[in-house]
Subunit: 147 residues, 2 copies
């Protein structure tokens, strides 16, 4: 039940964009360095985010990537869906036809409940929430230097 690096890296990328929002295109190179994601791997990670319409990109000098919508409009449920596909703990949840007895299967019901519980969490958190949480943690850290 682990997310792949796609989901984890991708979420970090978008948090990074949310934190650097409004300053124009953000370089992949910079995101790579700040978030410790291999640049060449990062290049592949952004494809589904562009296809999903939550970031845009520009090539060439002064190029980079940026959020298309405001961070408050981007929910993690969407992000994870784009990067990982369905979050359901078993294929049969999303695609009942894979198993003849799907509708009679009580274990499938459990996996469905788990998916719903996860989706509630992801649905309730936006990039703005993440950015705010991050800033408030940073502030806390700075204050601690003066104690």
């Amino acid at each position: 039940m682990k997310l792949s690096t796609r989901g984890r890296y991708g979420t970090k990328v978008l948090l990074d964009l949310a934190l650097y929002q409004g300053v124009g295109p953000v370089l992949l190179k910079d995101i790579s360095r700040r978030q410790r994601i291999p640049l060449h791997y990062l290049e592949h990670l952004i494809a589904p985010l562009i296809a999903g319409g939550i970031i845009r990109s520009s090539r060439g000098a002064k190029g980079g990537i940026w959020l298309v919508k405001s961070p408050a409009e981007i929910r993690l449920s969407k992000v994870i869906l784009l990067l990982e596909g369905s979050i359901a703990p078993a294929e049969c949840v999303t695609n009942p036809k894979l198993c003849e007895s799907a509708d009679a299967c009580v274990t499938r019901d459990v996996w469905l409940e788990m998916e719903n519980a996860m989706n509630e969490v992801l649905e309730s958190i936006t990039l703005q929430h993440l950015a705010e949480r991050h800033k408030s943690k940073e502030q806390l850290k700075e204050k601690m230097y003066y104690i």
Copy 2:
């Protein structure tokens, strides 16, 4: 974010045992047939369940496996933990030392929230619940033949 067959098969095995509880040792061969799990694979699946103390086994003629506790006392959280290990969506949740900035990381907080949400679901469901749900679905199915 998929469970492996270990978690899915294993849960079915235990549901099967809960349904056939009280009739003495249940043959792996029968579980294999009813739950459509390869026998040789099943033999490996039961090891962590025995080690975890929720089933016991006896070899030889009239052998088989059975639940050690009552189905009402066995929560799915325990089952999945034995079969899959931690259900956390990322290693850093269980083992913060893997990442220097774990305590400052807001994405890690999200993965932790997801884990908690899943655990609440799994904590709230016992094998008895599963068995009851199963029987009531079966009954519904029988009734439908007479409509």
